[in-house]
């Protein structure tokens, strides 16, 4: 029987590689019975999804203002590029 501790490791691993069938079944069976581990999996997937959407949004040129280079930094870089 897998413990919650083992299952959290396997949940993470399954996000990076495909688990062998035996482990996959072990995890699924555990998740059916364990509220905390199912919640854990949902939350890790939510974090993954959110982070990917943030990356996709930030990468569109001209998209939301977000972080910008300060004017000083811009001036410094311009100067540097004139006389590298």
């Amino acid at each position: 029987m897998l413990s919650c501790k083992n299952v959290t490791q396997l949940i993470s691993e399954s996000m990076d590689t495909s688990l062998p069938i035996g482990k996959r079944i072990g995890v699924r069976v555990h998740l059916l019975m364990c509220k905390f581990c199912s919640r854990y999996e949902r939350q890790l997937l939510l974090i993954r999804e959110t982070v990917r959407r943030i990356a996709a949004t930030e990468e569109k040129p001209g998209e939301p203002p977000g972080e910008t280079l300060s004017e000083e930094a811009k001036e410094r870089i311009r100067k540097f590029l004139r006389n590298p």
């Binding site: 993470s12 990076d16 590689t17 854990y40 939350q43 943030i54 590029l81 590298p84």
Partner: protein, 194 residues
Amino acid sequence: MAKPANHDPSEWVDRYGDYLFRYAILRLRDRSTAEDLVQETFLAGIKDRRSFSGNSSESTWLVGILKHKIADHFRRQAREAPLEDGDLRDQPDSSPFDGSGSWASGPTDWGGNPADLYREKKFLDQLTKCLSGLSPNHANAFTLREIEGADTGEICKVLNVTETNLWVILHRARMLLRRCLEATWFERSAKKGS
């Protein structure tokens, strides 16, 4: 065939500076490192303008250079602070599990439908803070895997670790990050709502 317009490097800072900076700071979490790498990217672009084939846009080409600079930075950090045994072993005092491996205190209910989180600038700030609380190797592994979407083989090369160790690193990074977000974001917003 006409090449897409490319601009004189003197216009690059105004045209692409903010865009590249946003890309860099999301991955590096530190303003001054991000500024440095944006500067290095422009410099490399000027020196190597011939490599711009015109098959992609100028901004995509510059981001490609920046990506390499970021990977180099992670590689340097991994060299300077290599993983220690402690990074790969359980830390009993911070473990959320009891002696039998069951949750001592399980994840709390995050409530509602947080699917729109990615639009919230404050959430991004908190995520950055939580990531900065991890060791650089843990944060960088998470960044490469989840932000960059790199496959594990590539990440192993950058961080110079085996695949088995990388799984342990990513597991710990996710666990710590989840806990930090729970404590600093979800429990707070639950309280606000009640």
